[in-house]
Amino acid sequence: MKYNGIYPNKCGKFGDFGGIFAPEVLMPALCELDEAFEKYRNDESFKKEFYQILESYGGRPTPLFYAKRLSENVGCKVYLKREDLLHGGAHKLNNVIGQALLAKRMGKKKLVAETGAGQHGFATAIAGAYFGMETKVFMGKVDIARQAYNVYRMQLLGAEVIPVESGSKTLKDAINDGLRYWITNVRDTHYLMGSVVGPHPYPLLVREFQRIIGIETKKQIMELEGRLPNAIMACIGGGSNAIGIMYDFIENENVQLIGVEAAGEGLETGKHSIALGLGRRGVLHGSLMYLLQNEYGNILKSHSISAGLDYPGVGPEHCFLKELSRLRVETATDNETLESFQKLSVLEGIIPALESSHALACLEKIKGEFNKDDIVIINLSGSGSKDLNIIKQRLEFKVK
């Protein structure tokens, strides 16, 4: 199938999905951003600086690691793309360096961002410090409580963390308030969107900055195995780590692409974040996508043990890829995720982020589909050190 370079179209559409559903006040800023991105995406000096920073400062390329003991355990060859080893402890750095560099070239002085788990806020604080740009991070009160460690890290880097009291006080409300702030300060401020959501051009530019994951992965697996993987698996909240690793494999139709959504406490409880699997089409945060919503179009509260997946929508490109039957959508519950989290820690000495553990949990569920020689690559999008407080409440060890 021919895909790369076609989507989104000039209007930001992936089929029916995406678009620019934004208040009028933001339209000029979005057009300006679109123009700037089109100008710099093929600019050699921009690309060079972007990669240079990710190498020397971020630690790219990240390893593609053959997880030997996990492979023996599940019965196929499992490789982990170690985005957890990127500076900041997650794939988020790729996007923030890209956007902050773009903002700098556009002459913007300040960065504003939303954050759920705190990973994107922390990454934005890193970029703010690196580029010397004033940084404000909007974060839901509920998330501030469950991610105190990340709040502290952001503050340590000089960013201002602004608590969000509106709505469900989580990621979606942090985006609302962040966008409201941007509406009021649009002239000198860049809104640094943390995932492949939001109005055009965000889903496009976040994908382009995250693509480095898949480009590296492809090269690495060819060097290591001389063939492409049978499947690539990644967790999906907004979807940036998933599209990042998957994009350069979309045209390789023999590579299964499997996105894993958070089933939270279980489908039947209604406490989940399965927007792709169970959502209906709608418009939120500037983009047409699958959404968890009631019959009247009001957005429902999502749930997941991992704040990074706790979002009632999902990137428009994932919606489109699902519709094309190119993306397979699976789920993992909080409990399944915790088991896989612990398993990887014990088997490989790697503590994965709760987000990434959803992909590991899904592999556990579908491992019977793979043969011994089949290759499965999992995007280990982040490190679990940020999650230890949450894990500790569920998993206690005794000192004998």
Binding site: P23, S166, R180, R281, G282, V283, H285, E295, I299
Partner: protein
Amino acid sequence: MNDTNRILDLFNEKNSLEEKYFMPFLVCGDPSIEQFISMVKKIALYIDLLELGVPFSDPIADGPTIQEANMRAFEAGINTKVALDTIKKIRTFFTKPIVILTYYNILIQGSETIESSLDNTLRRFKESGIDGIVIADLPIEEAGLALKYCKKHDISLIFLIAPTTTDDRLEKILKEARGFIYLISILGVTGAREKVAQITKETIKRVKEKIKTRIPVFLGFGISKPEHASAVAELGADGIIIGSAIIDIIKRNLSNFNKMEQELIEFVSSIKNAIKRSN
């Protein structure tokens, strides 16, 4: 009740745009459905058009005042169906134009496809008695379907113009705009402010110069006092829209409904008087 559009009638019959118009904004169902209807009855005399917010859970263009009003309305049980019933009740005594303000997602649910939902929802709103609609997150670039079905159901699709709207886009918007132009006076979300922004004057002038047809310009966002109202009327706006300052009155008097209504009447009549004087 379906075959007229009161906005177009209002601006036609005068045949000149010398009068200044006042359109207050209330959130439908705030603080309760009954109290809301009662308030509309009380202020009906002093207003020229009525703007009703049909709440959305995630209103990114609105400041804290209107967000809180939305929450009160949700608690009072508002949703699309209840809003339609409420507008029908208002239509039993209110004959002036009604404009609703909402977000796109509210309009595209309920039927099989987005297009059929939009067709259906707009038809139901028209039948309930609305004349115009403002969709806060629908820029001209995405407005194709909404224009088609607003035309079909004889609803004026009212577009917002901001101080940052470029001339290029301004022309595109003016080509499709019906009813009136909703000019955002400031760079920001809704909310009462102490002063009328400097940016207002040049924006009104710029927009007025571009207008080729006879479409009135209403100014909203940030207007909170009779002095503001008369000032912006003098700057050349044909109408003013006040939301957050009115909702502040509701919020201040939640425990005393009589006082709430009394203050509301005083406020809206003072605004109407202020713009009358500047005529």
